[in-house]
């Protein structure tokens, strides 16, 4: 260091230049003149003149030495203040030669910033060795440009300390030149901006993450975007665990290195300290999942990084929640459109024979004298018209019932109802339709099936279940059974393909239709809602010999007897 200081003429102590001795020479000159005058005037003898001269010289020298020491003390104090100020501000200063092998003079704070032991000789080559390999070329280019063209040397770059830690340094410097413009050295400052750089990087990352997440509307796209943002910018591995909701199954998405380990659920010992972190994904006050991140190569998660993960997780949760809502909305719109198409189809079906019959009869009457039209022809035509209007009436009733339920307006009109009679009426009305589909219907009813229920709505329930049996059990017999007691049980058994085990709940949801064989897709949903409103429940059983049995159980407190247990499939 002392050698370098000598090189730049900037050692720790100031140089002792000739002008510092000027007062001594001036004092000697004054003493010589005064003593010479005194001797000439006879005021002093020769000895006295010598003694006086010596005394004056000694006094001047002592004064000079004292003054010089004062200066040095003040200079040392200033240096100390400077070092303390640099330390407080994390600003180091330096003076650098221009060649690779030239020395660099660092201030104490610069040594600290670079993580190099104070006093270690530093060369330009050593400095570039400390610059992060990813930034080295850029720093060398900036340095060369400053020396060659006078461009400002003002840049932020990373350094890798000898202990492996990475810091971000902001350097500013100027090139000192001689009178002819020849560059002599660079003088500059270094500031550790690691923390502010992390904050800036965090803000940039979160802003871009928000922007990217806002672009992703699809659920899958959003999860992929979250994972892509997390790896590698936040972590080396990421696992997203999303809970199920009304329209989404549980989802797990793992990306990156070591993405599957350390989910922080508390099972087993934690992985390396700081190498993993887990945060809840919260949206609208609910936990919708967990994001687990791992770092294998990146530095461990410190407090700053955990806060960043928390902020990122909040944005990710919001985006995922929005994507889920968007998908639900899309599904609702799709279901509504499908329902409208189905409703249109279902209403057109009975309208067609109705309309054709009316057109045909009018045409017949116009063409012939009315008395020539046979009564049989008229009767058969009117019969079709009647059946068609009944079917339309049923459909409209189903729609209205579904609409009431959807609007939360279902109010039961309880009267004393004989469920056997109700079932008998519905079966009789649907027999023609059933037979047209190759289904025979058998009704088995026990005594004591009278209860306080809503007759109209239960009729719709039986209609929906029999209609369902005809659709999905075409060509096979259907059995309807009513067993009295509490609860009173109604079973509609078909011998179709049956309902797969995984579908037992789904088929009772609104707008669910099996094989698109007619109906609005609201029958079973409506049945469950109506039965639930009565305090009962309806479920489907898969029968071993094929087909399905839909079982309705209605509480019947007026019945003294408990209902006999009977298998739904028997």
């Amino acid at each position: 260091m002392r050698r370098a200081a000598k090189h730049f003429g900037l050692a720790g102590r100031p140089p002792r230049s000739w002008w510092l001795l000027a007062p001594l020479f001036a004092g000697l000159a004054v003493v010589t003149v005064v003593v010479g005058a005194a001797r000439s005037s006879g005021l002093l003898g020769e000895m006295g003149a010598h003694a006086l001269s010596a005394a004056v010289v000694v006094a001047v020298v002592v004064a000079l030495v004292w003054r010089n020491e004062r200066l040095l003390q003040r200079l040392a104090l200033s240096r100390t203040f400077l070092e303390q100020a640099q330390e407080a501000a994390h600003v180091g200063s330096w003076v650098s030669g221009l060649g690779d092998g030239d020395a660099i003079e660092w201030s104490r704070e610069t040594y600290r910033l670079f993580g190099v032991p104070d006093g270690e000789p530093i060369t330009v080559r050593r400095f570039f060795g400390l610059v992060h390999p990813g930034d080295r070329e850029r720093v060398q280019a900036a340095s060369a440009a400053a020396i060659d063209t006078g461009a400002p040397y003002d840049l932020v770059h990373r350094i890798v300390r000898d202990d492996g830690s990475v810091r971000v340094i902001h350097e500013r410097a100027t090139v000192v030149r001689n009178d002819r413009g020849v560059p002599l050295r660079m003088v500059g400052t270094s500031v550790d901006v690691t923390e502010s750089a992390r904050i800036e990087e965090r803000d940039r990352f979160l802003a871009s993450a928000s922007a990217e997440l806002a672009q992703a509307l699809g659920y899958g796209d959003t999860l992929q975007t979250v994972a892509r943002l997390a790896v590698p910018r936040v972590a080396d591995g990421c696992v997203l665990h999303l809970r199920a909701d009304a329209s989404h199954a549980p989802t797990v998405l793992a990306v990156g290195r070591g993405g599957a380990r350390g989910n922080g659920d508390g099972d087993g010992p934690p992985p390396d300290a700081g190498r993993s972190t887990s945060v809840e994904l919260r949206a609208r006050g609910r936990v919708i999942g967990v994001m687990s991140l791992t770092r294998d190569h990146a530095p461990p998660f410190d407090a700053f990084a955990r806060l960043l993960v928390r902020d990122f997780a909040d944005r990710a949760a919001l985006a995922i929640d929005n994507a889920r809502l968007f998908r639900q909305e899309q599904e609702s719109v799709r279901a509504r459109d499908e329902f409208l198409a189905v409703a249109s189809h279902e209403l057109r079906t009975p309208i067609t024979p109705l309309k054709l019959q009316v057109e045909g009869l009018v045409r017949l009457l116009e063409r012939q004298q009315s008395h020539e039209v046979s009564m049989d022809r008229l009767a058969s035509g009117l019969e079709v018209i009647h059946r068609s209007t009944e079917r339309m009436h049923d459909l409209v009733e189903a729609l209205l019932c579904a609409s009431e339920i959807a609007d939360g307006l279902l109010e039961l009109d309880r009267t004393e109802v004989d469920l056997r009679q109700l079932a008998r009426t519905v079966v009789a009305r649907m027999r023609t339709l059933a037979e047209a589909s190759g289904c025979s219907i058998e009704l088995v009813a026990s005594d004591d099936a009278v209860g306080s229920w809503d007759a109209t709505r239960l009729e719709r329930v039986i209609h929906a279940l029999v209609s369902n049996a005809i659709k999905y059990g075409a060509g096979h017999p259907i059995e309807v059974a009513v067993i009295g007691g509490d609860p009173t049980r109604l079973t509609v058994r078909d011998h179709g393909a049956g309902v797969p085990a995984g579908e037992h709940e789904r088929i009772f949801q609104r707008f669910q239709r099996g094989n698109a064989l007619g109906g609005f897709g609201v029958g079973l949903w409506m049945a469950r809602e109506v039965v639930s409103a009565h305090g009962g429940h309806v479920a489907v059983e898969r029968c071993d010999d094929g087909g399905a049995a839909f079982v309705v159980e209605l509480p019947n407190h007026s019945s003294a007897a408990a209902s006999a247990a009977a298998g739904a499939c028997t």
């Binding site: 249109s344 067609t352 024979p353 022809r377 068609s388 064989l517």
Partner: protein, 138 residues
């Protein structure tokens, strides 16, 4: 009304619709055979009276209208047999290859008659054999 000796084959699982068309077309002097089972319709084509036009619904159990049209077209002798789809589904939502036309329910009777008039008049089938087909303008 001068009609051919050929019948209109109606394939629709809606009993009321079948009964209606049977009555109305009989009023107009057309022969009608009808079934709700597409498999039976294939048997009818093979074994019963010659057919001038097939009216087929789309949504039916066991075999749907699209499959029936494919099965008919699979027989070389029925390659040119006129087939019209008659469905309550809008044509824009249905994809049926091999049919000459598509009529949406509820169809106007006049529209239906114009189709029958075109394919089932006596002079539309000069050759009484089952393999012959009327001149097509579509």
């Amino acid at each position: 009304v001068s009609t051919a000796q050929r019948s209109v084959l109606i394939v629709d699982d809606d009993v009321d619709f079948r009964e209606t068309l049977e009555a109305l077309l009989a009023d107009e002097g057309y022969g009608v055979i009808a079934t709700g089972d597409p498999r039976e319709a294939l048997d009818m084509l093979r074994d019963v009276a010659p057919v001038c036009l097939v009216l087929v619904d789309l949504v039916m159990p066991v075999m749907n209208g699209e499959e029936l049209v494919r099965a008919i077209r699979g027989e070389p002798r029925w390659r040119d047999l006129p087939i019209y789809v008659l469905s309550a589904w809008p044509q824009s939502q249905a994809h049926v290859d091999g049919a000459q036309g598509y009529l949406e329910k509820p169809v106007r009777f006049e529209t239906l008659l114009s189709v029958l008039d075109r394919w089932c008049r006596a002079d539309a089938w000069p050759d009484a054999s089952c393999t012959g087909a009327p001149a097509r303008d579509v």
